[in-house]
């Protein structure tokens, strides 16, 4: 019998600990599939964050170096500079990358570090129990914004990807989501392209993935996905934010 669906080689035989309906499981699988498809499992090094995805090392069957909270881009810089022919990616949440690790991220991007960043934006601090994230949207209730995020008091949600696009060192930045099958396929294409940008030696690539956290949104998995499409994307529209690939003389269709 022909096997039509199986576990990617780059995933261990472990059951995800993520909550039901969590986007991390989908994104992990996509990354693992891409690593398999690009045949880079023997040269890839992943840098997971502090946050829900800290346990990524339990799932990916590749070399993993854990980063202190927010410092993924700096750790990845060290790894990639030491091993320029390996493929180095970070996997970071919104609090990790857009609050505590903003400086490391912007400067790694600005230096054009040849790394790939997978930025999972679910609009909330997951692991610590649902506090306001830098990307929490206006009016969104969290444990530290009980009356909803108030722009005057808490600031507006930060669009880190757009900010990064302004730096010269970034080559490819796209925002996608994993709320629908169509968007999941789009996400896979984007992440694959981001890895290819690195493999071609072009520079910094990042894919921001809007991802459901039903637990902290206090919604069912289906409702959480609907919320992404109906509400979150108003603040974080899905689009290619920057693509310099063609300008750099590489084939613009790295996906």
């Amino acid at each position: 019998m022909k096997k039509v669906f199986g576990k990617p080689k780059s995933l261990k035989d472990a059951v995800f600990h993520y909550c039901p309906g969590c986007g991390h499981s989908i994104i992990h699988r996509l990354v693992a599939e891409i690593i398999d498809e690009l045949n880079i499992e023997e040269k890839v090094i992943g840098v997971p964050p502090a946050g829900c995805a800290v346990l990524a090392y339990d799932y990916f069957d590749i070399d993993i170096g854990e980063s202190p909270h927010g410092r993924g881009a700096a750790v990845a810089t060290g790894l990639k500079r030491a091993l320029p022919d390996r493929i180095v990616f970070t996997y970071q949440g919104d609090g990790d990358i857009a609050a505590i690790g903003t400086a490391e991220t912007i400067h790694a991007a600005n230096r054009g570090e040849n790394i790939t960043v997978i930025f999972v934006n679910n609009g909330v601090y997951g692991m610590t129990g649902g506090q306001m994230a830098p990307t929490t949207i206006i009016g969104q209730i969290s444990t530290t914004t009980p009356g909803g995020r108030n722009e005057k008091r808490d600031g507006a949600p930060i669009d880190l990807s757009e900010m990064l696009a302004l730096t010269d060192g970034t080559v490819y930045i796209e925002r996608t989501a994993v709320d629908t099958p169509k968007n999941i396929i789009r996400t896979k294409k984007a992440i694959k392209k981001a890895f290819r940008v690195q493999m071609a030696g072009l520079g910094f690539s990042l894919v921001e993935v809007l991802s459901p956290c039903p637990t902290n949104l206090k919604l069912s998995p289906v409702q959480a996905n609907e919320w992404i499409g109906s509400t979150m994307t108003n603040y974080f529209p899905l689009k290619v934010i920057k693509d310099k690939v063609g300008k750099l003389g590489a084939s613009p269709h790295l996906e």
Partner: protein, 356 residues
Amino acid sequence: MLLRGSHVFAEAAVRAGCRFYFGYPITPQNELTEYMANALASLPDGVFIQAESELAAINMVIGVSMAGKRAMTSSSSPGISLKQEGISFLSAMELPAVIINTMRGGPGLGNIAAAQGDYLQATRGGGHGDYRTIVLAPGSGQEMADFTRMAFEYADRYRIPVIILGDGMMSQMMEPVEFPDPIDPKSLPPKPWVLDGAKDRPSRIIKSLILDTSAMEEHNWKLFRKYEMIEKEISQVELFLTDDARLVVIAYGTASRITKGAIKRVREMGLKVGLMSPKTLWPFPKRFLLEMSRVVTDFLVFEMSTGQMLEDVKLSLEGRRRIHFYGRPGGIISTPDEIAKVINNIYFKEGLETEG
């Protein structure tokens, strides 16, 4: 070679096979960073990054160290405080690294004069969690060169971050130095634990998160046993005129140099005074001190602080002998005459001229 102290550190690091340096500007150690920028730019395998922050610099060191290569960062007191997060992680993940602290007056921004106020921070771990780092205290240009080489060797041997404590005075000092032969990083033995892509081997994880309490306890004890082994293997002191000494001064770094001058002066007056200069601050060379306390009744701890190493001397001697203290914090550099006077006072107050 005649070089200033900060350049000695840098040249010695390059010769130790260090090809990765990450730093952030801070006085009084910018010459070290600038030397590395030059030296590494002229090497095909050299990587220098002026990091956006001390935090970024130490985390870049973490990345290089995970890849198994020799990496260094350096700073001065306030910057070292910022690096403590990374030093705690390096310790937890048992990653080698070399960190040079050119100490200045503090707390806070303090000033840029030479001081020794970071002793406790360096020797007690400095960041969060139950760990120690090796701390080396060179007292001359030659020792700055030798200890930098040693720091990389210890870091690799024990998989531990090694801190070298200098100060603004030592980094400006010009002294003739003989460097050991340069090491080609390619000739260093491969490390069996590095991350370089899981080719022909199972995948590896380097991490510090250990949620299971018994596993965490086990890891803590494993680190502790390593620290015990290091204590046995590497404690080191320099002894200066201690053979017949009735009073032994304990001082490190710049303070030990000043003390040597003071001892020469009081020796001319017939006072039997020596110096014991710890070269490893952690592990503190307790057994050398205990050994000495069998015949010496009086110790004078001299530090450019309000008394930090003093705690280790007290802990080592456990009340067995008289311990005197003299300290000048804030970036004040005592003169040998000043210390000679202090020695003189103690010597006669305790009646050491009549003993034995």
